[in-house]
């Protein structure tokens, strides 16, 4: 059941990304281009997602366990350090260069396989590189 819910969650996420226009790197880049022809679409996407999730967090507080798993596994750390900010800054640079973040990049394997696969392969290489340097 939990595997099935994961698949459903991923599929609804992918469909949402496709409808939202966020699988178009030029449009995402347009949101980041505040000094040029700014495209506010991403703000509407984020707004819609935040409204639903804000409600979900209120529901979560009233629940003792998730519906199909034994317990909640949620990030508990409050640490704000150079790793968090440096990592986020690096991600922002990559996002600005290609107009892709991990979700739309993976989902684009279905629609634009070649450029998506190039980005995802490089992204995985970056993840591996971080894991190696972390030690």
């Amino acid at each position: 059941m939990r595997a099935f819910l994961s698949l459903v969650s991923g599929a609804v996420f992918g469909l949402g990304l496709a409808i939202s226009g966020m699988m178009n790197p030029a449009r995402v880049r347009g949101f980041l281009d505040i000094l040029g022809d700014w495209d506010p679409t991403l703000a509407f996407v984020m707004g819609g997602a935040l409204v639903v999730m804000a409600i979900a967090w209120r529901v979560q507080k009233a629940m003792h366990t998730p519906v199909v798993c034994e317990e909640f596994h949620l990030p508990g750390t409050q640490l704000i350090d150079g790793k968090l900010i440096g990592g986020a800054a690096l991600f922002g640079i990559g996002w600005g260069l290609a107009g892709l973040c991990p979700g739309p990049a993976v989902a684009s394997l279905a629609s634009n396989f070649v450029p998506a696969a190039i980005f995802v392969a490089a992204m995985v290489a970056g993840m591996v590189l971080f894991r190696v340097t972390e030690r």
């Binding site: 980041l32 819609g48 935040l50 979560q60 980005f119």
Partner: protein, 145 residues
């Protein structure tokens, strides 16, 4: 949209509501954060924590969801960066940065900000700011696309 001829606020809002619903299903159903960078890393065995079935099926679902759009709704409009150099550089830095910063637009942006997590609010402000500076610099040096 007045003043922003390229914007698609309605499609954006509908897509955003679905993304929120997807994250809510993962949170309330499986008790986990729907973070794509973390789920991808877990699927490839680069981290531990989330059961592999949950991570890998979520990632597979992302691809299937886009496929559902292609079959039942229509083509997905997309203009990619001109040339593989942008994709390789962007991908490498995105992969490294999302692992180092423990999340991306989904984990920090959607799930963390809606929880008012200080870490996620700071991370999201940082990556949006860094993205805006990057695009401005690329444009300033004539590399805009």
């Amino acid at each position: 949209m007045p003043g922003f001829p390229e914007a698609q606020p309605l499609e954006g809002l509908i897509g955003g509501l679905l993304i929120g619903l997807a994250a809510a299903i993962m949170l309330l159903g499986n008790g986990r954060i729907a973070g794509v960078s973390g789920m991808t890393a877990r699927t490839l065995g680069l981290t531990k924590g989330v059961p592999w079935s949950i991570a890998s099926l979520f990632v597979l679902g992302l691809i299937l969801g886009a496929g559902v759009h292609l079959i039942f709704v229509g083509p997905i409009e997309a203009t990619f960066a001109p040339g593989w150099g942008w994709l390789v550089a962007g991908g490498l830095i995105t992969g490294f940065g999302t692992r180092m910063g423990s999340g991306c637009t989904s984990g920090h942006g959607v799930c963390g900000m809606s929880r008012l997590s200080p870490r996620s609010l700071i991370a999201t402000g940082t990556f949006i700011g860094a993205g805006m500076v990057t695009v401005a610099l690329v444009n300033a040096f004539g590399g805009g696309w």
